[in-house]
């Protein structure tokens, strides 16, 4: 699961342009990214060295995934879906693979929206 490294690199990269002293970095993670928070924090602590982010604290928040069917309007959560380990693994590379592995629990359609819990966002407090 060392894909967390790629993510940590991305977070550090995205902070390069931020001027001034950064005190707090909040990383908002969609549940669909299926990221191991501990590994990510470890990676962030290691990668921040020598970047001017030494003084920054990292905080993680995971947003639960929520889906809405475009066909029948049903709403459901990732925890309601039966997904195997391999599928979860694939989705943590590319969350859009949800459209291959998940189906609306009410009508079976793969045509649904990810209402919440897909992205990665970084918020900075100076």
């Amino acid at each position: 699961m060392v894909h967390e490294w790629a993510l940590a690199e991305a977070v550090i990269k995205s902070l390069e342009g931020v001027g001034g002293r950064v005190k707090l970095v909040r990383v908002l993670l969609g549940e669909l990214q299926n990221v191991d928070g501990e590994i990510l924090l470890l990676a962030l602590e290691e990668l921040k060295r020598g970047t001017g982010l030494e003084g920054a604290r990292f905080e993680l928040e995971v947003e639960p995934a929520e889906f809405e069917c475009n066909a029948c309007g049903a709403r459901w959560r990732l925890s309601d879906a039966a997904v195997g380990e391999a599928e979860r693994e694939a989705m943590h590379f590319v969350p859009e693979l949800a459209h291959a592995f998940l189906r609306c629990p009410s009508c079976g359609s793969p045509d649904f929206k990810v209402v919440k819990g897909r992205g990665v966002r970084v918020e900075v407090e100076g």
Binding site: L7, E9, E16, F93, P95
Partner: protein, 244 residues
């Protein structure tokens, strides 16, 4: 408080070792973008180039069918594409299995951003990109996110293809994407006049080659076809292949 998308920030980093990006596009479907882009990657690899192939046809991926069976990508500080016949292949099909993967445009944008943010191509002389038909999110975003991308336009000589490709060529100009030239596929010169009319360099034709169907999935057989030989000439004219 400022919100940032870390995925976008890391894309240039991921492509740092890539010397050249060439997008095979057309607007029109079924003209041979997938076949020719895969062949191009194989031809370049045979010549010793370090080559990657990115399948952007998320709704109908088939580069993996042309190249033949590939293992799934490996995870190592990101995602490492498997190598088939010297070509590093990245395709959602390697992750999605047999399931239909109906992506709306906004999903395609996100999927592309994720792929570009996590894929570790390493050092490449050439990254070949297989575009989907149409001029929707995948193509627009590829040209937006792969800043140094050059394009190679594929058409057949049919009126139906030329009418669509004419619009694509104007679009490429409007978004400022360099056009290396036009490759005519499954024809024998019928699209040359159109290239002249559009002010695009005509790179040559690749004939309809009945040996292709049997060779699909078999890189060696594909490389031995007449189609591969003719494409190699066109790519050399475009300056896409290094001299041997």
């Amino acid at each position: 408080m400022r919100a940032l998308d870390p995925r976008l920030a890391v894309i240039p980093e991921r492509l740092k070792g890539v010397s050249r990006v060439v997008v095979f596009c057309s607007g029109k479907g079924g003209v041979g973008k997938t076949l020719l882009s895969s062949l191009a990657a194989l031809v370049a690899a045979r010549r010793g180039a370090r080559v990657g192939l990115l399948d952007l046809d998320f709704n109908g991926p088939s580069s993996h069918v042309v190249l033949g069976s590939a293992p799934p990508p490996r995870e190592d500080r990101g995602v490492v594409p498997p190598e088939v016949a010297g070509v590093k292949l990245m395709s959602l099909a390697l992750l999605a299995g047999e399931a239909p993967l109906p992506l709306r445009g906004a999903d395609a944008t996100n999927a592309l951003i994720e792929l570009l943010a996590v894929t570790r191509w390493g050092d490449l002389d050439l990254l070949v990109v297989d575009a989907p038909p149409g001029t929707g999110d995948e193509l627009l975003d590829a040209l937006r996110l792969l800043k140094r991308a050059e394009t190679l336009v594929v058409t057949t000589p049919s009126k139906l293809s030329l009418a669509v490709v004419a619009r694509l060529v104007r679009l490429l100009r409007e978004v400022g994407a360099p056009v290396l030239g036009l490759v005519e596929n499954m024809g024998r010169g019928g699209a040359e006049a159109a290239a002249a009319e559009w002010g695009v360099r005509y790179l040559g034709w690749v004939p309809y080659d009945p040996a292709i169907e049997e060779a699909l999935g078999n890189p060696e057989k594909l490389l031995a076809t007449q189609a591969a030989a003719k494409l190699e000439e066109a790519l050399a004219r475009a300056g896409v292949l290094k001299a041997r």
